[in-house]
């Protein structure tokens, strides 16, 4: 069986949640595997991140290099190619760094590449059996990946339960000397933090959240009227921001805001994993969508198959009626 590595994303000395999830994914490839954590970085941050993954990995390889103080995928790829043995399986979290690193890494390691894996069914012959989603999660696919010359596999964050145990005797191997000088055609400049918007959707108990189903800019008012009646705020999924109907500060999801409302009304939102990644604290999730197969219905508490352009005004009327009765 090929050796399994997990590339660990870390920031300011803290390992990403995906670190322990990749250990679990490795066990699903080979229950007997003892995966090796791969960490790159520099200085105290690298040392702290290393300590943080001891509960999940018995062996840790580190590459310490000042050029790797910020995770530049091209530099890291060049470093990994120097140390990862041919035929290995390398696991990487499928997030913005993994998307940058993994495809090119597979080419340079001359191995197979399978991305955004949700589940793993072990190895059969020379094939790794995995599950992926397509079409925004409306359908899943069984996929086979020939790992006879190794593989790079990106794993969806949150798809595997973290694997942690009491820290065992951990071997830390410093691979820095095998890497040498690193240069890249892409250079990190700075990180620009997202601007705060007019409304802070992270502070609301109820969010009326709209997706593609709102169809056009004029219809956003339908959601705003409901939110106003409820004393809630309007948030949205990515397509609404892409279309410039609402500002980026209203977007819920991995590339937007993380919110913790008590009640989340998902209106015309299909429920992609990137969107759901922005919902924390288990809100009561009510989904309204025309498409009975929308993935949002798999995770919602209550679902209604209806056109939000009809349903939301009805709901707004009900709220107003209730308020006027209460006022009398």
């Amino acid at each position: 069986m090929a050796r399994i590595f997990a590339y660990i994303v870390h920031k300011a000395g803290v390992a990403d949640d995906s670190a322990a999830q990749l250990a679990a994914a490795a066990k699903k490839i080979d229950p007997a595997a003892s995966p090796t954590a791969l960490l790159t970085g520099w200085g105290a941050d690298l040392a702290a991140a290393c300590d943080a993954v001891r509960a999940s990995y018995a062996e840790i390889w580190t590459i310490s290099n000042e050029a790797l103080a910020y995770p530049n995928a091209e530099l890291i790829r060049k470093a990994l190619v120097k140390v990862v043995p041919p035929g290995s399986i390398v696991l990487v979290a499928h997030e913005h760094f993994g998307i940058d690193l993994a495809p090119g890494l597979s080419i340079k390691l001359n191995s197979a590449f399978v991305s955004d894996v949700l589940d793993i069914g072990g190895v059969e012959g020379s094939d790794l059996k995995v599950v992926r989603q397509e079409f925004g999660g409306q359908v899943s696919a069984h996929v086979r990946c020939d790992i006879s010359s190794g593989a790079v596999v990106t794993v969806r964050p949150g798809a595997f339960k973290s694997l942690e145990s009491a820290p065992v005797a951990v071997t830390v191997v410093d691979k820095s000397s095998e890497v040498g000088a690193l240069t890249a055609g892409r250079r990190y400049l700075e990180t620009i933090v997202a601007e705060a918007g007019d409304v802070d959707i992270t502070k609301h108990n109820v969010l009326v959240s709209i997706g593609r189903g709102i169809q056009k800019q004029e219809n956003v008012a339908i959601a705003q009227e409901l939110a106003e009646a409820l004393g809630a705020a309007v948030s949205c999924s990515r397509p609404v921001v892409d279309a410039k109907w609402l500002g980026k500060s209203r977007q819920v999801g991995s590339s937007g805001k993380t919110v913790k409302p008590k009640v989340y009304l998902a209106c015309g939102i299909s429920g992609s994993f990137q969107h759901l990644a922005g919902l924390k604290g288990s809100p009561f999730l009510i989904a309204i969508n025309k498409n009975p197969r929308a993935p949002i219905f798999q995770v919602a508490d209550v679902g209604i198959v209806d056109d939000i352009l009809e349903f939301l005004p009805e709901l707004t009327n009900k709220v107003r009626e209730m308020r006027s009765v209460a006022a009398k």
Binding site: G104, V131, S140, V143, I192, V263, I286, V302
Partner: protein
């Protein structure tokens, strides 16, 4: 600037409910509405805007069959100077690596400063752009949501990272960028625009024109193969309200109130 945009025609999830066929091994492909993969369309728009500012040409290429010409014409109607169809029996069944191998051969035939792809296809996984860049030994940036042209054959690009933050990078040309949706507002294409380019010839490239080793592409070379599609058994799933619209609205209001949601 000579810009190449790699695009694909895919089932349009905003127009279709994707479901399994009766055999339960593939999606139901009858009556599917296809369109250009959404991020690819943003990539073409971005290329057009860059060329409008600094001059150059935009070529849109797709690997596929005759049916895929329709997206090339659509993008030419948007303003792309040329559409190119890469089509050959030998390419059928290629995995992402095979597609990147084919595109690499095409890139080598031209003289492109910048290659754009969409960040991800509806049925893909953000693969081809990064693979193509590595094969060409070009720098790569994924999830790009702004591009500024700098002096000295360089770009300043931002990448969309967590929390809506932007990671700013300088990148040397030639390079490959994968474009995120929302980077611009793609222009509208009307029927009249598409009719205007209906008879523009679209060159087609195959194995011999590209000089691709047929053994390195197609189904036989694919290391990654989709076995079938399925719909996973749901977890608990939502409790579906089956009442009239009015009854459902009453129930939702009651639930919002009960869950502490009414101010």
């Amino acid at each position: 600037m000579e810009i190449l945009v790699c695009a694909r025609r895919v089932p349009d999830t905003s127009e279709n409910e994707i479901e399994l066929n009766s055999a339960g091994n593939d999606i139901e492909r009858d009556e599917l509405v296809y369109s250009i993969n959404e991020p690819d369309n943003y990539a073409v728009e971005e290329a057009l805007q860059m060329v409008a500012r600094i001059g150059g040409n935009v070529t849109v290429v797709t690997v596929g069959g005759e049916d895929d010409e329709e997206i090339l014409r659509r993008e030419m109607a948007m303003g792309a100077n040329q559409g190119v169809l890469i089509s050959d029996e030998a390419f059928s069944g290629s995995d992402a690596r095979g597609i990147a191998t084919i595109l690499k051969a095409f890139v080598r035939k031209g003289n492109y400063d910048l290659i754009l792809t969409g960040v991800q296809a509806e049925d893909g996984g953000a693969q081809v752009g990064g693979m193509l860049a590595a094969m060409l030994d070009y720098p790569f940036a994924s999830l790009v949501n702004s591009i500024e042209v700098l002096e000295g054959r360089k770009l300043k690009v931002s990448r969309e990272i967590e929390g809506g933050n932007k990671e700013m990078n300088e990148i040397d040309l030639p390079c490959v960028l994968s474009i995120q949706t929302g980077i611009n507002e793609p222009r509208y294409v009307g029927m009249r625009g598409i009719r205007a380019v209906a008879s523009v010839p679209i060159p087609t490239f195959g194995v011999s024109e590209l000089g691709v080793d047929p053994g390195a592409v197609g189904e036989a070379a694919a290391k990654v193969k989709r076995v079938d599609y399925f719909v996973p058994a749901l977890g608990k799933g939502a409790e579906m309200l089956k009442g009239s619209r009015e009854e459902n609205a009453d129930k939702v209001l009651e639930l919002v109130a009960a869950k502490g949601g009414l101010k």
